[in-house]
């Protein structure tokens, strides 16, 4: 992945680039539309959602989808559409924060590893090897079980951290490989000769040139993080009832009533699948668009 070439061919910061991206990558554009729709739903949930997400209505328990409740209701009479809209907020907040923290820390680690090379690279990469040997869900489970819960503004910071930590070694490995080729560039040698500090060279000269793989990783890991959050919530280690979260909606009473009220698992399951699919489509298309090798 040649970053210098990629950043010359398409600048994602220009508005016209988005139109060019949509023309070149229609599937990615479809993914982007779904992501934007989710984002809008999350931001304007109070205005869009027809009901309150946590309010029990015993008069509407286990109601099948209807005009009144398009996605039906759960065992507490709570509107499933409303909970899915609010659940988007949970999924995107935790998904984006986890992916951002994981990819940023992992990216910096990867660049530092590539820049310093030698023993530092050896030590960092063996540590990364150890971390990579744990399946992502197992590592997240351990972290969330050890850390418990610490909430800030309604966000479980430890859950974010639990999802971010397994992302760090994975993103670090990918970014390192891109950073290794950047390190060999003459301008890095020039910066060294100019007496710039390692931190200055890493952040000002190397990091901007690995932005493309970083962005691709960021979008790909948002999907992973959403899936992880849903899995942890399903296992009772993520978001707690009565907060709306897609994974949580699949757990608890849903497993008890899925035969009588299949809509209780159908719609949250679709929401998870659709969001992960959308982020994966967008991430793949972004990679294809940014990397000229995939245009051949």
């Amino acid at each position: 992945m040649s970053i210098a070439t990629a950043s010359n061919t398409a600048d994602p910061r220009r508005p016209v680039a988005i139109i060019a991206f949509c023309r070149a990558q229609p599937l990615g554009a479809a993914g982007l539309i779904v992501i934007l729709a989710m984002g809008l739903a999350a931001i304007f949930a109070e205005a869009i959602a027809p009901y309150e997400p946590e309010v029990i209505n015993f008069g509407a328990m286990l109601m099948a989808p209807s005009l009144e409740h398009p996605f039906g209701t759960d065992a507490f009479g709570r509107d499933i559409l409303t909970r899915i809209i609010y659940g988007a907020r949970t999924a995107l907040t935790i998904g984006f924060l986890s992916s951002f923290i994981g990819c940023t820390l992992g990216g910096l680690l990867g660049i530092a590893s590539a820049y310093f090379g030698g023993r530092a690279d050896l030590v960092i990469q063996r540590f990364v090897d150890v971390m990579l040997s744990f399946p992502i869900i197992i590592l997240a489970l351990v972290v969330v079980a050890v850390l418990g819960k610490t909430e800030l503004l309604g966000i479980d910071l430890n859950l974010v951290l639990a999802i971010a930590i397994p992302i760090i070694p994975r993103s670090s490995r990918v970014v390192r490989s891109a950073a290794l080729s950047v390190r060999a560039m003459p301008y890095i040698d020039a910066a060294r000769a100019g007496g710039y500090s390692a931190w200055h060279i890493i952040t000002r000269h190397m990091a901007p040139n690995v932005l493309a793989p970083y962005l691709i990783l960021l979008t790909a890991y948002i999907a992973q993080a959403i899936l992880l959050e849903a899995s942890l919530s399903f296992l009772g280690l993520g978001v707690s009832e009565p907060k709306p979260a897609w994974g949580l909606m699949l757990a608890g009473d849903s497993s008890n009533f899925y035969q009588e009220a299949p809509w209780m698992i159908l719609f949250p399951g679709l929401a998870i699948s659709l969001s992960v699919f959308a982020f994966n489509l967008f991430g793949d298309s972004l990679r294809d668009w940014l990397d000229p090798k995939f245009r051949l």
Binding site: F76, E151, P242, N256, F257, Q259, E260
Partner: protein, 532 residues
């Protein structure tokens, strides 16, 4: 045996509920020997020591390995009969109990059980040595002396009359351990299992299974009928599938109405369903050591916000939660009538008025925007209770954060007072008010009183009812206790559970009761042949 007629009369409603169960076993059907009973248990045991715990996760695995002095007669709850005791007499002042033990009862290591084993086990419950705790201290507080007068005679002398003492002697928690083993290590039962029960311990694989095998020297002739049992640790949803798929034969705690229907649909005529009310209720416990829950106005306001009658009608359709009740099991001989209950704060049917009063109390206490963490177990129907309570509190402007934890963490917080408000529960093996009201007395009198309050008036009423042998007078004292406790609201009942046991019809000889803590020694249980 005393008071059989009174106890039988009390038992009639339960017997009526259990009658389908009795009909399952035809009178001419003789128990068959052999087979291994496989059943599910929904939680891991935090200890093996029955003296130090109160969870079914221990009882359902460990009970088959131990005996008690007396026991509840199978199929005839709450009649009490002898277990290790062959016979007994009571002095006219009801303060001295003399038990004659069965001869030739052996522990699983082959040693003979004597009155010394009973004495040492009871002393451990009454005055636990350093490093050992006793969950049964309140039940043993009136016992003055425990004397082993000869190898087969034990004499128990009371400080004062205790109307519930026969239930204490029959309690499934008061298992008899080997005095010799306890002399070597007072904590021996915490990680070892060695009793005189119908099954010897084989193995426990944490998170997986617990295995017991028939003890051939068990003191009841020809029993147990089973070759052994295997208790498998499972989540509730796995239990439904395992029972439906005939991979397990029973689960003895209980299912939700929906789970019952699913299993019955899958098993058809192979399903055996037994239903009863349940001596188990959910409680909202306030930590009275933490402000603002040291303010009775705040506690009372939060209790007033809960629509118990509405919750009962709806939650009973989706969970094991059922009847509205006070501190003793609704429908039992000691229970308040619905009319009496409606006089208590939080039990009135006019919820608009209740919530207006709750808001007024919170305003008066300066807690209009109260927020706190509601500690709860991550298990059903605790989660359902938590969701319900949070919704009810929201309606008076109170915001509760739901913190769901594993059983061990829940117990730890309960014991250390590390919570603001918690969804608590309490279960007992008998309806006797002394056994159940202990949950609501002062904390320095009973560790199970999670609210950590001190209320000497409640303690006085508790002691008075415990001494009272006249049932009507005792009932009046129980009502006074409940009224006082509801007004102070240190801990308030939420809803009582309904017990729905579903098993494969092959399982015979097991007795249904309004408690899941008794009849779990499996000595009468046998397996009918599989239908071809």
């Amino acid at each position: 045996m005393h008071n059989i007629s009174r106890r039988t009369a009390i038992a009639l409603p339960t017997l009526a509920l259990a009658s389908p169960a009795l009909a399952q076993q035809r009178p001419d059907e003789l128990p068959r020997r052999g087979g291994v009973l496989t059943f599910a248990v929904g939680a891991e045991p935090p200890t093996y020591d029955l003296h130090q715990t109160g969870t079914f996760a221990v009882m359902h695995r460990v009970a088959p390995h131990y005996s008690t002095l007396l026991t509840y007669e199978p199929g005839n709850y709450p009649n009490i009969v002898g277990d290790l005791a062959e016979s007994w007499t009571v002095s006219p002042d009801q303060k001295t109990f003399t038990f004659k033990l069965r001869p030739n009862v052996r522990f699983h290591d082959g040693t003979l059980m004597t009155s010394e084993d009973v004495r040492v086990s009871y002393e451990r419950l009454r005055a636990p040595p350093a490093g050992v705790s006793s969950n049964r201290l309140p039940a043993f507080r009136q016992i003055d002396l425990i004397t082993a007068t000869d190898p087969l005679t034990i004499v128990i002398t009371m400080k004062e009359v205790d109307a519930s003492i026969m239930d204490t002697f029959a309690s499934p928690w008061n298992s008899i351990f080997s005095a010799a083993r306890l002399a070597q290590d007072p904590t021996f039962p915490v990680r070892n299992v060695m009793g005189t029960g119908p099954f010897r311990f084989v193995e426990h694989a944490a998170g997986s299974h617990w295995v017991g095998a028939r003890f051939d020297d068990y003191f009841r002739e020809r029993q147990p009928y089973l070759d052994g049992f295997r208790a498998i640790t499972m989540t509730p949803s796995s239990m439904v599938n395992a029972l439906s798929g005939r991979q397990i034969q029973a689960e003895f705690r209980g299912f939700t109405p929906n789970e019952r229907d699913r299993i019955v649909r899958a098993l058809g005529t192979e399903a055996r369903v037994e239903e009863s009310s349940w001596m188990l209720h959910m409680i909202v416990s306030f930590n009275t050591e933490r402000p603002p829950f040291n303010d009775p106005r705040v506690r009372r306001a939060l209790s007033l916000a809960i629509d118990r009658w509405g919750g009962s009608a709806s939650l009973s359709r989706i969970s094991q939660l059922g009847a509205v009740g006070g501190m003793v099991r609704p429908g039992s001989v000691w229970s308040a009538s619905p009319e009496e209950m409606q006089q208590w704060p939080g039990y009135g049917r006019d919820m608009a008025a209740n919530r207006a009063e709750a808001r007024r109390l919170l305003r008066e206490a300066g807690q209009e925007n109260l927020t706190f963490t509601l500690l709860n177990r991550n298990h059903q129907p605790y989660v359902t209770s938590g969701i319900f309570v949070i919704d009810q509190l929201r309606q008076i402007g109170v915001r509760a954060e739901h913190q769901q934890v594993e059983l061990a963490a829940w117990y730890a917080a309960q014991g250390s007072g590390g919570f603001d408000v918690m969804i608590d529960s309490f279960t007992q093996f008998s309806d006797d008010p002394t056994n159940v009201l202990v949950k609501y007395v002062s904390f320095d009198k009973a560790e199970v009183a999670t609210a950590r309050a001190t209320d000497r008036e409640l303690d006085r009423l508790f002691d008075a009812q415990a001494r009272e042998t006249d049932r009507d007078t005792r009932k009046r004292l129980v009502r006074q206790f409940e009224t006082r406790a509801m007004e102070q609201s240190y801990a308030v009942p939420l809803l009582w559970w309904q017990r729905i046991v579903v098993m494969n019809q092959r399982v015979r000889g097991w007795s249904m009761a309004p408690t899941h803590m008794i009849y779990q020694d499996l000595r009468d249980v046998w397996l009918a042949p599989e239908r071809s």
